[in-house]
Amino acid sequence: MVNLIWVFLAVSGIAYAAFAGTMDRVNEAIFATIDESVMITLSLAGVLVFWLGLMKIAEEAGLLTGLAKLFKPIVKRLFPDIPENDPALGYILSNMTANMFGLGNAATPMGLKAMKEMKRLSGSERASRSMITFLAINTSSLTLIPTTVIAIRMKYGSVDPTSIIGATILATMISTLAALIIDRYFYYRRRKTGQTL
């Protein structure tokens, strides 16, 4: 499905440009974006190197299993196919905690590491049940304090820049809950139709 979306975006864009006469802008955008994606990867590399190094220390010091133990009751229900005390749970929790506090830069490396650990568990190139649940939680956003939005609101002279925090938390809770329900629905549907994962 991602294949289809990817091809569709490029092909329909080029076809549209042919009729709209915007091919020059398409050319410009292609090369600008190639540069931009290398820049993003590079800046991501810095953050990844730092946080994965720090998290390795946390793992060796037993902090990640401690974190996993603390939230065991909740996480066991969310990810029933990950064994107790597996480091994957610690990384999942670090990712979720960082997301909640709006530390997107710290959340991504832990999320990637969590994915890697989940792949180690499943040993397959196919998305496992826990991976899909993890992505569902991530895409529905866990932000408690939307710092970027608050900054933009301040810049444009809001009387009360933080007024949206309550509504954002409420919307986030509902969307995460909905994501989990949708995830479970698809899981049981997969099981019913006899797919193994």
Partner: protein, 170 residues
């Protein structure tokens, strides 16, 4: 308070490691090497997706698609100005942020549209980016229901933020 968060985490990790006699620096270097690997394996996925989205946007096709869907919003009494944001949010994080900024600038941060854009921006995330990055970095090729689940979760988040903002600020 948030400026204490990251230094605080570093402090806790390093102090605990020292108490537990973990050779912190060596372990740090060992763990960070993995970061370089992940970043490099990420580039093809990220670059490919970003170029495709850029073509779609720069050609004007995205604006055209938005125009097509406009009649739908008036049906549900949703301010049509919010529609571009709702559609772009799952596809491109940077585009969504620029739309949010534009809406807040044009209508004012404390207007209904401004509040709605703020909440929507904060309560959803860029599904396509997350899926590209997370699956790309670990080499998952068969994504199962992940995209469907992610996009439906976005839809739920968008509807939730509209309803909540109407109740709280409307």
């Amino acid at each position: 308070m948030s400026i204490w968060l990251i230094p605080g985490v570093i402090l806790i990790v390093l102090v605990t490691a020292t108490i537990k006699r973990v050779p912190a620096y060596e372990v740090f270097v060992e763990g960070s090497k993995e970061g370089i690997q992940i970043a490099i394996s990420l580039l093809p996925f990220l670059l490919g997706m970003m170029v495709s989205i850029a073509i779609f946007q720069a050609s004007g096709a995205m604006d055209a698609a938005l125009g097509l869907i406009k009649p739908l919003t008036s049906l549900f009494a949703i301010p049509e100005q919010i529609l571009p944001l709702a559609l772009i949010r799952p596809i491109s994080g940077t585009a969504a942020l620029s739309v949010t900024t534009e809406l807040i600038r044009t209508f004012g941060p404390d207007s209904f549209v401004g509040q709605l854009a703020s909440v929507m921006q904060g309560s959803t995330d860029t599904t396509l980016y997350i899926i590209t990055v997370y699956f790309g970095a670990v080499g998952i090729r068969r994504m199962g229901d992940a995209l469907k689940v992610g996009l439906l979760a976005d839809l739920a988040g968008i509807i939730a933020s509209i309803v909540i903002v109407i109740i709280l600020f409307g």
